[in-house]
């Protein structure tokens, strides 16, 4: 509603009257911009994304290169350059800004490569679990006949011991998937699917609860009296109104996915050992944490900041998508 300094009401009126409705997405974007946290979160997330995917193109070191011979001794266990600030005698060099690990691989290169995997796994698994959870939640909430069976299914999944299940599934499906999608691709598909289908339950329950309350609201009855079929009632009236809880579980879902992936990698059931992910970097470094705190610090920080940024984006999106908040 930003009109240029208003002329007289008469000249303004006809112009207003013929103005077509604005696109809703413009309003959403306008509101999103106003949410400072969300904007900062978005900037950080985009930078992390860019650094992780574009960075390796400009960075000279290969994440999986292991030096041999004398280089191995020379390059292993280097400290990050900032250690020189308080320990001038430390083994650090500008050619490896974040140091190297215990077999001489560059830490920054591994961080970036690990980030690619972790972010993709996180986003893909979150999207899958969200889709499943929303789908099942809406079906269970809206169609009374499906409520019982679907919710019992949800309870069943909740009651399953997650980790043993994952391990068995990895053992069973790793080889066929490797054959189909290649080593990394197979594991990627496997992990995304596993994390996705084992983490949709919370979303489903939350969505079902909200849908149960929403479908008794009069505007749904009004849509029925117009003759809107159930499918479109769900898409037009129910889904937009359950967006907030979906957003919240989405942002939390990314974190869970990244962490589950790292747990799997830690147990040796995820990606191959020489293939870095943030979770794996973290876990690999835990036993030497006191000597080399940076090896835990950086991957941990990357996971936390990503999760936090996504959380803020979700927060801002939720507000922006709600017209009652948008006006303020």
């Amino acid at each position: 509603m930003t009109e240029p300094a208003a002329p007289s009401a008469e000249t303004l009126a006809p112009e207003l009257a013929t103005r077509p409705p604005r696109s809703q997405w413009r309003d959403v974007w306008d509101q999103f911009k106003k949410h400072r946290g969300a904007l900062v979160g978005a900037v950080i997330f985009v930078s992390i994304f860019a650094a992780v995917f574009v960075g390796p193109l400009f960075y000279p070191h290969d994440a999986q290169y292991v030096p041999t011979g004398r280089d191995f001794i020379r390059l292993r266990d280097m400290r990050p350059v900032y250690v020189l600030l308080w320990d001038p005698g430390a083994k650090a060099d500008w050619s490896h800004p974040l140091g190297t690990d215990n077999i001489g691989r560059d830490a920054l290169a591994r961080m970036m490569m690990g980030g690619q995997v972790s972010l993709t796994v996180g986003l893909a698994a979150m999207a899958l679990s969200l889709l499943l959870g929303t789908f099942i939640g809406v079906l269970a909430g809206y169609f009374r006949r499906l409520d019982g069976p679907l919710m019992r299914l949800t309870d069943l999944f909740l009651a399953l011991p997650l980790l043993p299940l994952l391990l068995v599934a990895v053992l069973l499906f790793r080889e066929p998937l490797k054959a189909a999608f290649g080593v990394e691709g197979g594991i990627f598909v496997l992990i995304v699917t596993l994390v996705g289908i084992t983490s949709w339950m919370q979303t489903a329950r939350i969505v079902r609860g909200d849908v149960l309350a929403l479908k008794e609201r009069e505007f749904v009855l009004a849509a029925r009296s117009i003759g809107t079929p159930s499918r479109r009632i769900v898409l037009r009236h129910i889904l937009p109104n359950v967006l907030s809880p979906i957003m919240v579980s989405a942002t939390l879902g990314i974190a869970t996915a990244i962490i589950t992936e790292s747990a799997l990698s830690f147990l040796g059931f995820g990606f191959p050992p020489d293939f870095p992910t943030w979770g794996r970097l973290l876990n690999d470094s835990v036993d030497r944490m006191t000597l080399y705190p940076e090896r835990v610090l950086w991957p941990g920080l990357a996971i936390s900041i990503t999760v936090l940024a996504v959380n803020y984006i979700g927060d801002g999106l939720r507000d922006a998508l709600d017209p009652r908040i948008r006006g303020r």
Binding site: Q24, E218, I226, R324
Partner: protein, 365 residues
């Protein structure tokens, strides 16, 4: 026309207009499931064997205390519920047992205005998309045509065209109700169920909305089923009034007759509650105060539903349920007081019927 002439109900012929809506023996029971096995142990008889006609272009008021099944009746007539039993005819077409899918093409003919304008508008949709939803569902208008129609409707209900982009929470109650009315009008319906359209509104806005409804009726030839507990408002807008008690119609009569002299004891009690503006009359008026509570619709009393509270209850009332019968031209009452001594009254009943018929013939000629 032939159908209506053949229909057994005498009230179908109260004038030259043909009934737009005919409801016969409408029952809407909500099942009660109890126990560990969720067995069907009973029913809430929200609407129990209700019959009435609504003539084309008229307004039928439906009044009664809260919980008596008015709203359920209105929604059942529009087939927003799957009714338990009975027949509903809209423009001569039976819709009582049609599937929701088969009803879809008929929806444009009948629409509803809801009680709570806040709750009946999706908070996430703009006014334009709310009013446009029926158009999207039932017409193949282009975006521009639709917008044109939306603006037309907004003009018709007195909303500024510039509000099209706004969301429901930005409006006052009266304006929201106008949005609801515009949505109901979008497809040029013949029949609109107004489910307490003014109950949630400020008194100062009520008159505006009611006048709007009346103007639209005049312009567009609408037929209303006007559900309300506001007896003065019903007196203002309705042509005929049906009084409901515990899921049944106890009296159905032309407005003036009913307000001048209610026949059924419940209707008497209900109408005695209408505030009287003239203090002299008000002081003289005798308020009938009923004792006790409304029985549960899940377990209505044997015999007449009102027998537990009726000030003039008789022995027969507790045994036999009185049927809705015509006691005077156009007036139907379900009470043993008027049909009682039933055996002896049978001689006079046909007489009434005859006089009724002759009166009609006179009118038709």
């Amino acid at each position: 026309m032939l159908d209506t002439a053949a229909s057994p109900a005498p009230e179908a012929s109260a004038g030259a207009a043909r009934p737009l809506v005919e409801v016969r023996g409408l029952k809407m029971y909500f099942p009660i499931h109890t126990g560990l096995l969720r067995r069907h142990t009973g029913d809430v008889k929200a609407v129990d064997d209700v019959s009435f006609d609504i003539l084309e272009g008229e307004t039928l008021g439906l009044v009664g205390e809260s919980g008596c099944g008015k709203s359920t009746c209105g929604r059942a007539v529009l087939r927003l519920y799957d009714i338990t039993a009975g027949s509903i005819r809209l423009e001569g077409r039976e819709i009582g047992q049609l599937s929701q899918e088969a009803l879809r093409p008929l929806r444009p003919r009948m629409q509803m205005v809801f009680q709570d304008p806040q709750a009946s508008l999706n908070p996430r949709m703009t006014v334009a998309s709310i009013i446009g939803e029926p158009l999207v569902e039932h017409t193949s208008m282009s975006r521009a045509e639709r917008l044109e129609r939306i603006w037309e409707l907004m003009d018709a209900v007195g909303l500024n065209r510039d509000f099209a982009n706004r969301y429901p929470h930005e409006f006052s109650g009266g304006q929201r109700q106008r949005i609801g009315i515009a949505r109901a009008l979008a497809l040029n319906p013949k029949f609109i169920v107004c489910d307490e359209p003014i109950a949630a509104l400020d008194v100062s806005i009520q008159a505006q909305v009611v006048n709007l409804l009346e103007d639209l009726q005049e312009q567009l030839g609408l037929t209303y089923l006007f559900i309300s507990h506001d007896l003065s408002m019903v007196r203002h807008i309705a042509d005929r009034v049906a009084v409901m008690y515990l899921g049944r119609i106890v009296e159905l009569a032309p407005r003036d007759d009913l307000y001048a002299e209610p026949l059924h004891p419940y209707a008497k009690a209900l109408l005695s509650a209408v505030p009287e503006p003239d203090p002299k009359i008000a002081r003289a008026a005798r308020r009938i105060i009923l004792k006790g509570d409304v029985p549960s619709p899940a377990n209505p009393p044997k015999g007449c539903n009102f027998s537990t509270r009726c000030p003039r209850v008789m022995e027969i009332c507790r045994r036999i349920d009185p049927a809705l019968t015509e006691v005077a031209p156009g007036r139907q009452v379900a009470c043993h007081l008027y049909t009682d001594a039933s055996e002896s009254a049978e001689e006079t009943a046909p007489e009434r019927g005859e006089s009724n018929d002759t009166r009609q013939q006179g009118e038709e000629e």
